[in-house]
Structures are given as structure tokens and as C-alpha cells.
Symmetry: C2
Subunit: 458 residues, 2 copies
Amino acid sequence: MHPAIQYIQARRGDFAENLKGLLRIPSISTKPEHKADMARAAEWLVHRMQAIGLGHAEVLPTNGHPVVYADWLHAPGKPTVLIYGHYDVQPPEPLDLWTSGPFEPTVRDGKLYARGAVDDKGQVCMHLGALEAHLKTQGTLPINIKLLIEGEEEIGSPNLDSFIKQQLGRLAADLVVISDTAMIAKGWPGITVGLRGMVAFQIDMQGAKSDLHSGGFGGAVENPGFALAQLLARLKDAKGRITIPGFYDDVRRLSPSERRQLAKLPFREKAFLAGVGAPRLHGEEGFTTLERLWARPTLEVNGFLSGFTGTGSKTVLPSRAMAKVSMRLVPNQDPNKIARAFMQYVRRLAPKTVYTTITEISGRGAPWLVSPDDPALQALARAILKGFGKRPVYTRTGGTIPIVPTLAKLLKAPCLLMGIGLPDENAHAPNENLDLDNFHQGMLSAAYLHLELAGESA
Amino acid sequence: MHPAIQYIQARRGDFAENLKGLLRIPSISTKPEHKADMARAAEWLVHRMQAIGLGHAEVLPTNGHPVVYADWLHAPGKPTVLIYGHYDVQPPEPLDLWTSGPFEPTVRDGKLYARGAVDDKGQVCMHLGALEAHLKTQGTLPINIKLLIEGEEEIGSPNLDSFIKQQLGRLAADLVVISDTAMIAKGWPGITVGLRGMVAFQIDMQGAKSDLHSGGFGGAVENPGFALAQLLARLKDAKGRITIPGFYDDVRRLSPSERRQLAKLPFREKAFLAGVGAPRLHGEEGFTTLERLWARPTLEVNGFLSGFTGTGSKTVLPSRAMAKVSMRLVPNQDPNKIARAFMQYVRRLAPKTVYTTITEISGRGAPWLVSPDDPALQALARAILKGFGKRPVYTRTGGTIPIVPTLAKLLKAPCLLMGIGLPDENAHAPNENLDLDNFHQGMLSAAYLHLELAGESA
């Protein structure tokens, strides 16, 4: 057994313990009051990178939260891999639904619970563990490594494009490896070959200048809470299809063979539904659940607020209503075109009885798809087979990683999506967690990948 | 000039100063944490009633917040008048829209600003001032008086019916006077001869057992925020008509003569719109603003909450959504029938992809209408002419006072609605206020009413 692999096997518990340190830092990028925590999380990573022997690690400023960069470039003639991840997390609310505190990492039944456990701190630390294993046992790495760990993924990476453009020379690589996705089920390691894109907006409506008595004014003044509900309802038809003109124009249709492959995947609808806990599943007519999740675009209400929402009754006619609406896009939809179409359509639907404002609240993410014949993908497939003891399946994910299409385009390098999350690990929701078996086997796979890319066998 | 009238004229400022004491108590009946404030407000009233010489005043328990009762019954052969009001108030939120604190009464430009200033503490204290004027100047009242000041009006008076039924003997009266309404415009004192009724519900939808990642699950799991918006939108058609089956069956249509009378009232649509501050008015097609407010039923969204509502973006698929919906009813709609129809219809519209709960959150209030030929109404009209120096107009209000139809029915006595509020005084909204001229002239009118009912001229 390769010494790096032995090293990981022998220290399994230590890596999880170390990860807890990063999980304790509430690095919530969307909340301005957590700016200092963002800096603390970046510093934690730099210290960890230096401790494992990467030598060069630093915090680089952007116009928003900083980027953590590190490299080890002492393997001449070997390929250079850029590893991307993020240290920022989603807000933890609603707090009352967490069994243990979101920033008090706790292990229960082989799972590590904390905000960011799987998305994405655990997956970043999986890579750091694999690098540590090589460096501590050999004093060297099989390949050249660069690490780019950003702090704005959860808010749509608004400053990353310009950062990458400024640092193109420093970031140049033969291959990009990104771990921010999930496998389809435990025991089914996979490689993600497709992503959805995203655009996100906030719609604000203002009717009266202040809240009114619903008896004294109701019937003669528009109710923004009702008007906004009505507008949102009109964004989809009775079959669940989005009504924005041109929305589906560029959607790439699945071929019959692709549909057959999707149908073969070990996706158990019953278990998926049980994990979700809803009375039944629901989506666009004419598509299976996996097709709806991976190959069809969506429009979701992420938040809605109007009027009195406390306990009991308050017969108020609200003056304001607010909704957050995001759309997940699939190949070959263009986020810029969709954003324009959405804004035009909402402006057209908005009644003249209220003042309506539309604000884009997140960076735009393009959808992405890669060919399973790519040689780098084949190397990763071999590494996963060794790390997990199973041949990986090729899947997609419904989520968005704007950096994937961006890096592929700017660095002109293929991207590998090596995700070790699970679909029921509550990324973005209460009780987020990370399966520690997957964390361990993912770390083994990462160490094997370095060897595979160097042309070494282990 | 009658001594009681002289007394009121001489002490105009003192009555407003005294009222501030009651306005400082945050007696919010819908919030359990204000239970002690409710008791304090009731005690304040008992002390005030004793101080002006009513002799018998006490706090009577109910199954909810207590009732304040007082009487003076030393005018044998004269009619007995029961004065009804309420000491509870609406919640003050949103707090950031108040210019001065909701429970820090402040006079600006002849208006007294505080939650409850006009609804209804100011109007209760107007009656107490008139009684004080008679008692302090004559040592006696022209008629017999009973006062019933309840603490649950803003939550639909859930315990008042049973309280009145238990205390029928004690509350027996020849006439009921209620001051909890508004005049149509400053300088246009009026008597309210019609009220809308009300029913109010909360609809809760639960989809997944916890919030989900909108990328990982969006498209395959129902979004309760969207489903509830869709359900609410279906409660009205494109013309603003409520779609609940049978909703309009019992609505009494306005006669051509009634419509002509409404059109003659000094209602200025432009000023109404300016007060409201919305871009334009809005309502059911085919009706004027006053008709929409007074003679047509409504359905309003009073509150809506789902998902992430903070600053920025959170791409969550919410597990829950909640809306508060109330309906204002007009003669001859039956609140029980409408409540039943609403619940049946919402259950029918609710998709099977979420768990839906419908909860009634307020007592039911019947609509009410009185004939302008009533002799007691004529006495009040004469009193108002003297107090305000103007002949009153007969109006309706879009609001609901469930006690009016209840008292009329249980006590078998006519009700007089003597309201001195103004339409722009923000009852139920931030910056609620009371015009101090109206407070003063209303107090004069109340004192004159006692004399009119006693058959005395002044």
C-alpha cells in the first residue's frame, strides 16, 4: 500500500477532528455582520495549508470576501491541478430546526453535523487531507497543485470572475478539480458531469405608503401581498411549466439514450420522497424525478414576506410585499437572456396599482455539461474505483456552481467534479451533515488521483 | 350654556393629558406576553371611573382578557344607556415606521399620536369626559349609565358573547352607544348606520420536512411558498371578484337611491388616494370607492411568510408557508356560512403535494345595518349638531365591530354608532392618531346626548 494511503487509513479520526475547527467559524457570506468570521475562516485555511507543508499559502483580497490561495509547484514535467472549493456557508436559519447548533460540529451515527459540513468545508478539507498524506510521508507531491478556496460561492461569486481574470497567470493549470457536489446514494460514488445554472431576483411591491386597516380600506386599495401572490402564480401554468416568453427556447432536450441511462441509475424515488418528507413528489409533467432535477429548468419562490406574520390575527392591509425568486437553468440556456426575459415579463405582469421593483440578488451562473470520454475524467474514475472500491457512475446535479463554467472558459482547462456529498445531507437546510465514510474514502480517492495524474500506480 | 358644557370647554387640554396615561399602556390583546399590560389598562379605567364619581366600577373576569364594567343608576324614570368600548389595541409593528413611539403619546399639529389613540382608547375617554362633566358640575347624570369596556375587540371578542349572556340582567339597557368608528372627513360629523362583518383564517402549508437546497431538490418537490401564492391567487378572478362558491349569494344589492345618496357624500377620491399613497385605487369592477368600502365584501391577505426573508439571497426551497386571510362581509352575508364555504373551497384548492392546515384565528363578526328613521338615532343627530355645530351625515364603515350585532340581538336594544375618528388616522397601522378637535367636540356631543335622551334641552 502506498505510504500516503496508509497515512490516511491510520489517521481517519484526526482529519474529522481537524475539520471541526473550520466548521466552528460562522462564515456566512451573505450577512454583512459575519465579515470578521469570513476573515477568520480564511486565516484558518492558510494556517492549515502551511501546517501540512504547502509552503506558499496566502489570503488574497477581492472586492468582496477574500480568496485563499496556496500552491506547491515542485514537480517539473508533471501536470498542474487547480483545486477549487469555498469556505463560505449558507445562513443557518431557521435555527429552531437544528438538533445541535449549526456552528457546534457534532458527530452522530457516523455523520458530522454542522453548517458547511458537506457544503463545502468538508470537501475542501478532504483535499487538504490527501495533500497532507503525500507531503508528510514523501516530503513531496506527485503532481503540481494550486488551491483556490473562495468566500463568495453562496452569494453567486460576484467577484471571482474579475479575480480570476486578474490572476490568470498564477492560476494557469492543466486541470481543475472541484468538490462541491453529491453522489446519488451512499455506496454509489460518482462523477458529476452536468450542472444547472442560476439567476436570482427579489421582487418588491409597495401599495399604500403605510399599512392600512383592512376594514377601513379593504376593497378599494390594492393589497401587495395578494398582488404579489397573483404575479408569482402567473409565472407557471397549470402543468408546472414556466410561462416566461422564450424560457424554454434554448433548453437542450434529452436524447432517448440519455433518458435510458438516467433510468438505470440507482435512484429510489420512494427513499428520495421519504428523505424529503413531503406527502408526494411534484414537478413538470412528462418528466421523471431525475430528469426534473438534472435536465429541466425550474423557478422557485425562495422567500415571501408581507404584512403581519406573528401569532394570532391582525386585520391589516399590508403596504408592502417581497418575494425572492430564483431560476435553475440547464444547457443551453443563457443566464443573461433568461434574466432579461424574467425582468421584462415581471414588469409586464406587475399591476399598475402598486410600485414594483425588481432587484437581481445573486451572480448569474451558466449551466454546464461535460463529455464522459474526457481522459482526465477517466483518471478520476480509476482513482474513485480505488478509493471507494466501486466504479463511479456519471451523474448530474440540480445545483449550480458558477465557477465551473467560468474556470473551464477562462483557464481553458477541463473541470472534474469529484463530489462526496449525499442527497440527504441537508446542504442549505437545517441539520446539514457529512458522512464520515465518504469523507474518508473521498480523501483516499483524492490521494489516488494525484498518483493517477502523475502516471504512478499505487 | 349648560354647566357640563362649560366644564368641558374649560378643561379641553386636561382630558387629552389624562388620555395619555391610558395610551402609555401597551394593551395588545393578541400577544400573550402583554397579559399584565391588559390587566394594568383595565385597572387604569376602573380608577378613572371611580375618580369621576361613577361609584360602582369593577374588573370582571372572562375566559380571556377581563371586561371593565361600571354603572350609575340614580335617574329613576329616565332611560338607561349602555356605553360600549374597548381598551385593547392592535400590535404596533412595523415599529420602524412610527415617527414617535407607539406607546409614547405625542401631540403634533393638534393630533395625538399613539397606538389606540383613535381605536379605541380616545373614544372611550371621550365618553368618560362627558360623564365627568355632568357628575362634577351637577353631582348627578341626566340618565342612567352603564359602561362595558372590553379587552378583546381586536381579536374578535371571543369571550364577549358568553359574558353578555351570563350578565344579561346587569347589562339590560334601553339603548347602546358605541364609539369605535370614523367620520367621513374632518368637519363632517356623522353617524355610522352600517358595518361590515368579518371572518379570518390562517392557512399553513408544509411540504418537505425541512428546508431544502433549491438546486438539489428544485423541480421535483413542491414549493409551499409558490403553492400558497397560487392558491391565494385563485381566490379572486381577473375582475377582483371572490371565487368562493356561493360567496355573493346573500349580498344585499344597493338600490339606485342608496347609490345616489352615497354619491352625494363629501368623499374626495383624490384626497383619499393621496392619504393612502398608492399609485392608484383598485377594487371590484362596477363599483365606486365608497360602494367598495361600505357595501361590497372583500378578501384580503393580511400576512404571508415563507422561506428566507433576510437581506441577500438564499437559494432555499422552503418547507413551509403561512398566510393570514380575512374577509369583510356585508348584509346579508352569514359569517358562519361564509366560514364554511371558505374552508371547503381552500381544502378543495389545496394541492395534494403539501400538508395544508386551515385555522380560524378570529371571532366571527356579522354585518349590520340600521334604519335612519330610528328615534334614538334622531336624538344623537341633534346632539351632534350641537356638539360639532353641523348636521351629521349618515355613513357606513368598512370595518367590523362584532359587538354591534351581538348587543343589538342579545339586549334587544337599538345601537347608536357615534364615531369621531377620521379615515386617515391610521387605526391598525403605524402613526395612529386622534384629532383633538374631534375628541373635544365628540365629548360635547356625548354630554348633549345625555341631555337629549333625558328630554332636557341645553
